[in-house]
């Protein structure tokens, strides 16, 4: 079985009497250590799919299997646990906790994993050093540049050793030079065995990925594997 299995997944929104099909009949499998990009215009359903993959949202129909367990139909508490253990989120706007040091930001998910303070600090420090921020771990987000913030976010996403890294427009708020740095970091992580799923509307960013899945009007339009650029 694949790491991720989507079987006939649909997501319907009801808005004031109107029914909106954000996703219809998605069937997908993603393997361990794949590097996948979901591309599509806004309204194509890629954000909805991202939320479902990240267990922030549940499909209206169909089944979602992650690492052998059926995620669709789980309780809120179980979903929170899956988000904590299996998924590392990276957002376009970084979404770091304000007024809290980089180190504490990275330590945060470990609190929910019930890791003790000493072990938490050790793991967070090690992870920040890995993304090249060993020097700046006691700075607050507003004292860091955009690229540095995104590195903190990546460290935070990886510190729980999740099975998938979910990145939502990770370079959307970064300049091209910094974007390149982040994509290089992603490539390294991928080579180290990390499964990475990315949502983007920039084709040149998507080109870094081994597999591009194009969404259109809530269903998969193309699913192509290319050699990385």
């Amino acid at each position: 079985m694949s790491l991720i299995e989507l079987k006939n997944v649909g997501r319907v929104y009801h808005m004031g009497g109107e029914t909106l099909h954000a996703l219809r009949d998605i069937n997908l499998g993603i393997e361990q250590n794949e590097y996948v990009a979901f591309i599509g215009a806004s309204g194509s359903g890629k954000s909805t799919l991202m939320n479902i993959l990240g267990c922030l949202d549940s499909p209206s129909s169909g089944e979602y299997w992650l690492d052998g367990s059926r995620v669709s139909g789980m309780s809120g508490k179980e979903l929170a646990r899956v988000r904590n253990r299996e998924i590392g989120f990276i957002f376009q706007s970084f979404n770091l906790l304000p007024r809290v040091s980089a180190l504490k930001n990275v330590m945060q998910p470990l609190i929910y994993a019930k890791v003790g303070l000493r072990e938490r600090t050790r793991r967070a420090q090690a992870m920040l050093e890995q993304v090249g921020l060993g020097e700046r771990m006691h700075h607050q987000p507003n004292e860091l540049s955009g690229g540095q913030r995104q590195r903190v976010a990546i460290a935070r996403a990886l510190v729980t050793q999740p099975s998938i890294l979910l990145a939502d427009e990770p370079t959307g708020n970064l300049d091209s030079k910094t974007s390149l740095d982040i994509m290089t970091l992603f490539k390294r992580l991928h080579e180290e065995g990390q499964t990475i799923i990315m949502v983007t509307h920039e084709t040149d960013i998507a080109a870094y990925c081994e597999r591009q899945i194009q969404l259109h009007d809530g269903h998969v339009a193309t699913d192509s594997r290319e050699a990385p650029a």
Binding site: A80, R83, N95, P98, I111, K114
Partner: protein, 406 residues
């Protein structure tokens, strides 16, 4: 669970420190509430302690017998204690250590000395009183048996009377006028200070027999008896005195007494009851102010939840359960209240001390442990009660919506 509480505690302290001024203003209601309850309790308890102390010197084995004026209208006749009553008690009551009369005299001009005037009640007493009252002369002497036998025109005064009459520092040997009679001062009593708002130094004593001799025959001045007995036999003695007085006053069976017999313990108890009521009433008022403070906290917490919507969304994405978020905000409210309670405790303690120091003859304020725990317990309770709504609101937030919140 303990792990979670500990972590929430850490994050609550961090968040409170990050918004120090706002946190302080938020918990101001709690601070003021707790400070006022601690101030009031410490003062009332200090008052109680000082009363207890004074009663201790009076002894728990004394009885005060006085006419019950409530019965005067009821019976349609004068109600008083007479010398015959005293004699009857002395003759017939067994187990009595001593009984001494105190008759209160007043004159139209009061007590005068070279044109200076004091409106003090002059009391006719027997020498026993000075022992019973634990009062001794600072200068000169107290009244003695010879004064009683000789119906001497002598007087022992307290310091307030000396000051009012502008008598010299050592007034012994001076003559003062009371009504038509002249009295020689033979003693000045040691200074006793205030007790329950009564100046214990505003006293003037003359021999009981002298008092009788200067009172018109048919006048029945206000007289009380002070009795002393073994504490174990006090109730029995009291019963006997009651029977004797009923017989003397010819009270029919079934009719109520026209006199009151109170032990100092009883008086002490009724005062304790009053201070208890004061404490409870103030406690209630302060309780309301704590509730108001709690509503203030709820308000700010609700704002804070809205303000931190995005943070909550992030935490949920990172794997926080509803319970985690709920606990975090609940503990933040509790910590806020508890810190307010602690500050209030210190402020109230200090305020009580300052006020107690400003009142002369007041014992230092005492804060009993129960008041400390009650205040802290109550503020914690307020924190839980008013933290629940904001915490539930935070826990219910939808992660996707929250992450989009600007």
């Amino acid at each position: 669970m303990i792990f979670l509480i500990l972590e929430s505690f850490r994050s609550a302290l961090h968040s409170i420190r990050a918004n120090a001024l706002r946190s302080f203003l938020t918990s101001l209601g709690i601070i003021i509430g707790v400070a006022s309850i601690i101030t009031v309790v410490s003062l009332v308890q200090g008052l109680q302690a000082s009363i207890d102390q004074q009663f201790e010197s009076l002894g728990s084995n004394s009885l005060i017998i006085q006419p019950d004026f409530n019965q005067q209208e009821y019976e349609g006749r004068d109600v008083y204690l007479s010398e015959d009553d005293l004699l009857a008690i002395r003759k017939r009551v067994v187990g009595l250590d001593s009984v001494t009369p105190q008759v209160f005299l007043s004159a139209a001009q009061g007590l005068t000395y070279r044109g200076n005037r004091s409106s003090v009640d002059v009391r006719g007493v027997e020498p026993d009183l000075f022992v019973l009252d634990d009062t001794f002369a600072d200068r000169g002497r107290e009244l003695i048996a010879a004064d009683l036998i000789g119906r001497s025109r002598v007087m022992v005064i307290g310091d307030k009377v000396r000051r009012d009459l502008k008598l010299p520092n050592d007034p012994v040997g001076e003559f003062v006028q009371f009504g038509l009679d002249w009295f020689k001062i033979v003693g000045l009593l040691e200074i006793k200070g205030n007790f329950l708002g009564q100046d214990l130094d505003n006293v003037a004593y003359i021999p009981f027999t002298t008092a009788n001799s200067i009172t018109p025959t048919h006048a029945n001045p206000f007289m009380i008896f002070l009795a002393k007995a073994d504490p174990d036999e006090l109730d029995w003695v009291r019963q006997q005195i009651r029977q004797v007085l009923r017989k003397e006053h010819k009270i029919q069976p079934g009719k109520p007494d026209d006199f009151k017999i109170e032990s100092s313990e009883q008086i002490q108890q009724s005062i304790a009851q009053v201070t208890g009521i004061i404490t409870v009433v103030f406690g209630g008022i302060v309780g309301i102010s704590l509730l108001v403070g709690g509503i203030g906290i709820m308000n700010i917490m609700l704002v804070s939840v809205t303000e931190r919507t995005r943070e909550i969304g992030i935490c949920k994405a990172l794997g926080a359960t509803r319970a985690d978020i709920m606990l975090q905000f609940l503990i933040e409210a509790v910590v806020l209240c508890l810190l307010g309670g602690l500050i209030g405790l210190a402020a109230g303690f200090g305020l009580g001390k300052v006020i107690a120091n400003m009142i002369p003859n007041f014992t230092p304020a005492v804060v009993p442990l129960w008041a400390v725990f009650l205040a802290l317990g109550f503020s914690t309770g307020v924190g839980v009660l008013f933290g629940l709504l904001p915490a539930a609101k935070a826990a219910r937030l939808d992660p996707i919506e929250s992450l989009r919140y600007e």
